[in-house]
Amino acid sequence: MHQTNTKYFYPYISPFDPCPPIVRKSYSTPPQLYMGFQPPNLAQFQTAKEALYCGTLWPAFHDPYPPKEGREDN
């Protein structure tokens, strides 16, 4: 199953809403929600600096923010 780190939903829009509607809203669903107990020997970043600048040793946990596919609500 392909796992995505952003989910979308479509709030009800009333003709009486004063602000211009945001049609599609998003929220984060980062990798730790799917990992379960971390398996041993998970692939690591090649260098310590890369790990530092990604905030984790394991690419599988890396969750760029804001998401690449964008946030509609800002």
């Binding site: 107990f37 971390q38 041993p40 600096k49 790990a51 530092l52 040793l57 394991w58």
Partner: protein, 89 residues
């Protein structure tokens, strides 16, 4: 004017190397707290500990003690409280 001297670029470069290896140590440490039997991770942890100690020895020789309370040697005069502090650089 009594402006404290600024640190050279080498300070930032060496510090960054230390921050990188120490970050790997934090990650492995938390991982091992929930995976105490992972021999590969323990080996990597010990290897990084060795690297970290080596880098810090080199850093302290040039820029003074990184730790207090007897975890680092002092120069003369007492140079633990020399600027800059981490939030100042």
């Amino acid at each position: 004017m009594n402006t404290p001297k600024q640190v050279p670029q080498a300070y930032y470069d060496l510090l960054e190397e230390i921050q990188a290896v120490d970050f790997v140590l934090v990650e492995l440490n938390l991982y091992l707290d929930t995976h105490p039997n992972d021999a590969n991770a323990i080996q990597q942890f010990n290897q990084c500990t060795y690297e970290s100690k080596k880098l810090k020895k080199k850093f302290e020789k040039q820029f003074g003690p990184l730790m207090h309370f007897g975890r680092s040697y002092s120069g003369y005069p007492w140079n633990w409280d020399d600027t800059p502090w981490p939030w100042q650089v």
